[in-house]
Symmetry: C2
Subunit: 396 residues, 2 copies
């Protein structure tokens, strides 16, 4: 096979006509397209598209603070080792550019998609996985404003056939301990006694162990499987102290990790039972797969973090579909239309309520270019009188 190099890296900022001040991460996305030797791959960066566009094209500050694109364009892309090599380059050349990992995430995802298409293989196969296992999706959603609303959401989720559900953000953690317990109890009643109930505190207690610990009785009473992000990523000692007191409630965290090191620290020092990784933030599929291997060797369950499109969902499933024991996956149930419309195919549940990673080559997703154009936000950045970024034409 002839050798090819990366010809172009394009970013598009897509968003809903109105972005609401709620914890719903599906309201915008940064779509990434990489082309090499006639093939095209697609990826997606999670959150703050404008900032990642700036990190892609920013002028160099010094030798270890270059724009992300400088380490990608023109690079050889013939096999998976090339993707790893490009990742090492980006991290060295953009060492002092904090946003770089976030920005590279969508590019890494697109590189895997492209290589899969070129080699006519699904990404999971390129990752060395022989047989993908289905995942049991947990319905990921926000708490209602009141326990009554949460109860109804739980009932609706059960009616929709989910056997696991996560409630998070909204009022949880901001009111009294009794308020929070009422919310969790309502979720349990709505879901019924057998479903897995997960609770996401959205880092609300920052690093305050006692405020989190005060909620443990309520969580245990509702037989909650995990408490997610009681603290910010990196507050290792607080996680560790809470883990020692949490009993049947496992701690989950890691979505804030923006490199393999942050995730490893959560696994090594925070006492989490579940490590949650967003491939659109941690550096892409490459880094996510590295964390999945690290977690497996240490008996920590790997779970994807996904709150945007089914392109992101396919990318986030790839690193851990080879491992049957990592049984559940995050599955956004009420995304905004953007997150649904941007792909032609979707990761649908089968008759048993399980989801399967696509068998098609690459990530198995076709971008609906016509639909995506409806959400396109034009961006132009000028530095020193020169245009360093202008939204390119959105095409296949």
């Amino acid at each position: 096979m002839r050798s090819v190099t990366i010809d172009s890296v394009d970013f598009w900022y897509l968003r809903m006509p109105e972005v609401l001040d709620i914890g719903d991460g599906s309201q915008d996305l940064l779509l990434v397209r990489v082309a090499a030797g006639g093939d095209v791959g697609w990826g997606e960066c999670e959150a703050s598209p404008l900032t990642s566009i700036a990190a892609l094209v920013t002028p160099m500050s010094h030798s270890a603070c270059k724009p992300v694109i400088a380490s990608v364009l023109g690079q050889r892309l013939d096999d998976v080792a090339d993707i790893a090599r490009i990742g090492v380059l980006v991290r060295a050349n953009s060492l002092d550019l904090l946003q770089a990992d976030h920005t590279f995430s969508g590019i890494d995802i697109a590189l895997w998609d492209l290589l899969g298409k070129r080699l006519d293989a699904p990404v999971w196969q390129l990752l060395g996985i022989e047989r993908p296992h289905p995942k049991r999706p947990y319905a990921s959603q926000l708490f209602g404003d009141t326990p009554e609303e949460t109860l109804q959401l739980g009932q609706a989720t059960r009616a929709a056939g989910y056997t696991a559900a996560k409630f998070g953000w909204g009022p949880y953690g901001l009111g009294t301990v009794a308020d929070d317990s009422a919310q969790v109890a309502a979720a349990r009643v709505g879901l019924g006694p057998d479903a897995d109930l997960l609770v996401d505190a959205g880092t609300v207690w920052i690093d305050d162990v006692e405020r989190a610990a005060a909620r443990l009785d309520g969580l245990r009473a509702a037989n909650v499987t995990w408490l997610e992000e009681p603290f910010v990523s990196g507050a290792l000692a607080s996680y560790r102290a809470l883990a020692d007191r949490a009993g049947s409630v496992g701690l989950a965290g890691g979505e804030g990790s923006h490199d393999v090191w942050g995730a490893r620290q959560m696994i090594d020092h925070a006492g989490v039972r579940y490590i949650q990784i967003d491939a659109g933030r941690i550096g892409g599929i490459s880094t996510a797969a590295e964390v999945a291997r690290y977690a497996r060797a240490r008996g920590v369950t790997y779970v994807n973090h996904t709150f945007t499109s089914h392109l992101a969902l396919s990318a986030s499933l790839q690193p851990f579909v080879g491992h049957a024991d990592d049984e559940i996956c995050e599955y956004p149930v009420a995304p905004k239309s953007l997150a649904w419309d941007v792909t032609v195919e979707h990761v649908e549940r089968d008759s048993d309520g399980l989801v399967h990673v696509p068998e098609r080559s690459g990530l198995g997703m076709t971008i609906d270019v016509e639909a995506a154009r409806r959400y396109l936000v034009p961006v132009e950045i000028r530095v020193g009188g020169k245009v360093v970024y202008e939204t390119p034409e959105l095409r296949d």
Copy 2:
């Protein structure tokens, strides 16, 4: 005293006419000005100005991914507790915006400067420090391309009266073990036997303990005080393993920390003897001071990381001038003209070769607006047809 609120936050991208592909971080800077109730404070963000400008003004993605400016404008600024409160707000409201800590760093510095001017007190006094101690500056510079060049640099540094010097980046770590030992030996010869010699590997070995360990004999032979950043920030296990083998050579690291958690992890789990913090990156003076307290309680020496202007140098000295035992400070000896010209005053060495934090109010630095204008790079960012950032007029 009447209560005031923050009226404006302005960013200016300044850079040298030519930015070279070398490890010299003084080639550009992001100047920050905050105004509240008629007073003005100045700060500076280190590295990649365009990306931090984007993070300041980026449209909201969701409730935990807001532009940094949204958590600052209009906030009350009457005492130091207000600065802490604003920091908590930024970190919660921009939780999913990776660049936010870096962007807020310059704002936090400007808030301290402003409050110091308003209360007519130097920042260190506001930090609760009764008496500032002088620091012994180490001359921070790049290795020469050859050992001969490094030797000459060492001689020049000694002739300039420095009793401590750091050599870093350049060819170090990229060639053979013998090459690297020759460089370090040359630095020692140039400096003379009594000066403190520090070596900065600039994360070149990423996490490879053996490649780093192979250099230990050469470092010990030259009586090197510390080996800085053999690995990337966060590679805790590699740091820990090397620390156990390094003997008389202390490990130093932490400049890559972009929040208090990253720095705490280096202190708790990496076995570093020296924690190096860049106030222009970790979240400002507030977070730097928090790390300084944490390090002190654990017997780890705090050192500033500073490679830009004397505004940044003053900011970086404030958190640890109260502690005489943290004796040395980084002092850039060959900054580009931008880094020197941007302030009227400078942190000069006294007749004993020591440096003193300014006694004047705030950070004790006046911005040379005329000079700064010569380095100004105009930036314009348009999103959805609207200008979200346009370089404002640079004024006092």
